[in-house]
Structures are given as C-alpha cells and as structure tokens.
C-alpha cells in the first residue's frame, strides 16, 4: 500500500482513520464528507466537501472518480461507512475488508477482524491490488498528532437518483454513544420509554455518559434504534459500561465486550452477562438504579 484515501463521514472519524493509516505506515489524504478533519493528524492534505452530503449512490460515484492514485480507500465501520464503502468497492471492482481491529502485517496485507458476533476473530489476507477497508473506531483510538495539513474545499456532489425525503434524528444532549467515556445500557425489563429515560437516561446523566440499549429494548419501543449496542448495532468500548436488565446475549456482548470496566445489574445470578462483568450486582434494577443516581448525584 502506498497511498490511502481516508473518508471521514461522522464526527470523530478522523482520529481512528489516522491511527489506522499510521499503523500501516501509509500516507493518506483525508476526505471530509460530513465528518471531522483536524489538520494535525498527519494527513497529506484535507479535502472538505461543502454542502449537503447526498445518499450513497451519488457520493460513492464521486469518490470512485477521485480514487485514481490511491491503492486503499478506508472509512470507519459505522452505519454510514457500511452503507458507502462497499458501494465504492463495487464500483471499482475491488474487494473489501471490513471491521478491522488490528493490522497483523502491513507488508503481507494481513488483518484481524471479528466474525460470528465476535465468537471468533479471522486473520484475513487481501490479495495484491487496490482494496477498500473499514476499521473499528474502538480498536484505533489515538493517532499521533502533528503537522498542519492544507485544506482544500470542494462542493459536495448533488443527489443522484436516490432522493432524501426526510431525516429524523434524536435530540442530542448526551455525549455520542460511540465516543462516550461512560455508557449505561438497559434491556427488556425497562418497560417503556419513560422508565428507560428516567432510569437509564438518569444514571447516564449523573455519570456524564451516554445511554445504550439492547435489541429487545429497541424492538419493544423502549429505546430508539440508534441506541442499539451489539453485533448489528453500535460497537462501543468506553471506560465504564453499566448493563442493567441485560441478559448478555452473544449479539449484545459483541458490541461492548472491549469496554474497560463492565458492571452488570441483573436479578438472575445465572445471567450470562455476569461472565464478562468486572463487577456484578444481583439486584432488582428498579431498586439499584435509583440508589445509584441518588448516591452519585452528590
């Protein structure tokens, strides 16, 4: 690999992309298409797209046009990246390695990535030739800082045949789930959206963290879909992960197992979540969480 095009789609993408390119030892151009692009993460150059970022069909065509001269195109493995990057690969006729968590050998083009909901890690080798990759932000946390890249701006491409009709994004207020230092997650027993917000949201607030949820909680309308943590939701690795009323299914654990400290609060002493928890509290969350909020508030 001689030169990479790193695509920053969401806030916080630049750091893991830079860290990955540094781990590979390849110079990179940072394309900011909706994401951040600090000038001091060692990019050769920054290209910032201005204006509304269109859906994947138009954006991928635009990026495929600029792909000449790059033998690696890389982004972060969040939903925006998962939507866009394989389409770029398809346009260019390249294969893609997704969700990289470790560079095993840059010269031999070998990478490590989780498969089967994190029940195994595959050592994969990419054949010679240009390719597309995505990285887990949780695995490439910090890049060496330095430099002062020149910034060039270009208008974002306009929408193609796919039109955006509407966008509904939850109100912020809490730190972003994937970047938060603390995540408090709730599962099925939280009953309804109001209870979830009061207990899980309330504890997240006193800890200065984000709220997360299981699929069961999302499916039953207790929590919005963008809070789902797991194999098919978001992958997080905060300093502290509190799982309350979460059984600890493989699919959920796949999204939080790399957290530094895991706390589980569950009434069932045999719940699988206790197998990966640093601190387990066998207790009704409806008693435990209000107490935690109360004690931690002062």
């Amino acid at each position: 690999m001689t030169r990479a095009l790193a695509i920053s789609l969401n806030a916080g993408d630049a750091e893991p992309l830079a860290a990955f390119c540094q781990a590979l030892g390849v110079p990179f151009v940072l394309l900011a298409a909706g994401g951040d692009a600090p000038v001091d993460v060692g990019a050769e150059k920054i290209v910032r797209l201005e204006g509304d970022i269109p859906p994947a069909d138009a954006l991928s065509a635009f990026i495929a046009e600029m792909a000449d001269g790059f033998d690696l195109i890389v982004g972060v493995a969040h939903m925006a990246g998962k939507d866009l990057l394989p389409r770029i690969a398809g346009l260019l006729g390249q294969s893609m390695v997704g969700d990289i968590v470790e560079v095993l050998s840059a010269s031999e083009r070998r990478f490590l990535r989780p498969v089967v909901a994190g029940n195994a890690f595959a050592e994969v080798e990419v054949a010679n030739g240009p390719f597309v990759a995505s990285v887990r932000a949780t695995a490439f946390k910090s890049a060496a800082r330095g430099g002062n890249a020149a910034v060039e701006t270009q208008p974002a491409p306009s929408q193609g045949s796919t039109k955006r009709v509407s966008v509904s994004e939850a109100e912020g207020g809490r730190p972003d789930l994937t970047q938060a230092r603390v995540v408090v997650s709730g599962g099925r027993p939280l009953k309804d959206a109001e209870t979830f917000e009061r207990l899980i949201g309330g504890l997240a607030d006193v800890l200065g963290g984000a709220a997360g949820a299981t699929r069961a909680a999302v499916d039953s309308g207790i929590a919005p879909n963008d809070l789902q943590v797991g194999q098919t939701g978001k992958v997080v690795a905060p300093e502290l992960y509190v799982a309350a009323g979460v059984s600890g299914s493989t699919q959920h654990v796949a999204g939080m197992k790399d957290s530094k400290v895991i706390v589980a609060i569950n009434t069932d002493p045999d719940a699988p979540i206790f197998e990966i928890a640093d601190f387990g509290l066998v207790m009704d969350l409806f008693d435990a969480i209000p107490q935690l909020i109360e004690r931690l508030r002062d």
Partner: protein, 249 residues
C-alpha cells in the same frame, strides 16, 4: 412484479459457536444451520408484498447442496421458486455479488431484497456491491418499505436515528431487524414447499468464476476477559468503581 431475494445458509444465531483448536474453522459438529436472520426478514417482507399485489418471489442461495434446506424454508414462508447456485468455492462478498449479478441479469427482477449482513462473516457488503455493479440505487438497513408507482420509499436506520429515501426501481434494498417479524411456518407450509421448483446451476452455467480476494487464513478464539467479582450492594459497587478510577472527578 418480481422480487429477487438472496438467502445464505449460516450457523444458528442462538447457538454457541466455538473455534476449532487448530484455528482451521468453526466447530460445526452438532451445529444447526438456518437462513441468515436478515435474509429471513427479507423473504418475509417480499412474501407480504406478494400477498398484497401480483408479485413473484424468487429466492437464490449460493453454496453447497445443503443450501437447499434454506431455500425450502424460504419457499415454506411463501416464496414461489428457488435457484441454487451450487459451489463449494470460497467467495468473499464481491465474489457473491458477482454471482448474484448473473442471476439478476437472467431474472430481471423489479428489485432485490436481501439481508444487510450475513451473521457468519458479518461483512455487510454484498448488497451494496451488487447495487454498485448494476449501477442501480441502494437503500440499506431498511426499517420500512413502501412501494409507490415505479419507485420505492425506504425508511432506514442511520447512526443518528432514521432517514427516509426514495429511489426509482430497480434497486437493491437491504433489511434491518425491525422491518418485520418473520412468521412461524406451520407443517402444511413446509409440506407444500416440497413441491415448489428449485433450479440448479453451477458457476460455469452462469458464466462466472469463483472469486475470493479476502481470504481467511485462520480463526482465533476471542480473548477471554479476566474473572470479575460480585458486589453485595450499591455502596460496595460505588466504592469498587471509585477504586478503579472510572467515576471521573
């Protein structure tokens, strides 16, 4: 209207899967195989559409002869006919997309409805690659699908919430978990599915080569987490977290 639905045979998502000691693969003794859950959701959605309007649902699976089981299951849910592309070659998602493209060209469906990700390789790529190679729109991670006149409107899950997109047909739509809850198939459905047609093809018939440029060399088991401990009450928990230094200031 014709809807093409690819289905992959994958290990039961609720089974405990482990890596063989020599790292050569997963331990498949006593492992059950199922339709990839996201593909099952796609079959369910396509069948619901065919129950509302004139539509043929064609399911396709690429892999060994055993994939017939998953095609039969899809036919039992209500798909009309199956295509089995028989091969024991290893394929990466680009390789899968290239095969699907040949099937698409033969079938000329109005749209392709497929899973967002196969839960064995967890790649989340084939649908987007297929759409790119066909030069048609894609709408990934669908939570709701509305067919309009000549176009389709999809509400999809994003990192920050949801958005609604609209694109002309044909296109590729990939499913997310909340699109629907697949029906339970009762015995008569399974019996009836036995007489539904399945066409068999080789890669040669389709005029496509097996491609795999991202090769799995070895599997490793996940790193174990150190044993934790139980705390008796909330105070003890807070104390333990303070000692770990994770409570902030």
């Amino acid at each position: 209207m014709k809807i093409l639905v690819p289905v992959k045979r994958v290990p039961d998502p609720y089974a405990k899967v482990t890596v063989l000691p020599d790292g050569s693969g997963l331990d498949t003794t006593s492992l059950k195989f199922e339709i990839n859950p996201f593909d099952e959701i796609a079959v369910e959605e396509a069948v619901r559409i065919s129950e509302q309007r004139e539509a043929e649902v064609v399911v396709v699976s690429i892999g060994r002869a055993e994939c017939e089981e998953q095609l039969r299951k899809a036919l039992a849910i209500g798909a009309h006919r199956g295509i089995l592309v028989e091969t024991d070659a290893e394929l990466d998602s680009l390789g899968v997309a290239k095969v699907l493209r040949k099937v698409y060209d033969r079938e000329s469906p109005d749209f392709v409805l497929m899973g967002k990700q196969a839960i064995d390789d967890d790649a989340n790529q084939a649908g987007q690659m297929l759409a790119a190679m066909l030069g048609i729109p894609q709408m990934t991670f669908a939570a709701k699908i509305e067919l309009l006149d000549g176009s389709v409107r999809v509400t999809r899950e994003t990192d920050a919430g949801q958005e609604t997109l609209e694109a002309p047909l044909p296109c590729v739509i990939t499913t997310d978990l909340r699109l629907n809850e697949p029906r339970y198939v009762a015995l008569p459905g399974i019996i009836k599915a036995r007489s539904k047609p399945i066409d068999r093809h080789s890669l040669d018939d389709l005029g496509v080569q097996a491609e795999c440029r991202v090769r799995v060399l070895r599997l490793q088991p996940p790193a174990p987490r150190g044993a934790g401990r139980q705390v008796q009450n909330v105070d003890e928990l807070i104390e333990a977290l303070r000692a770990k230094g994770v409570l902030g200031s």
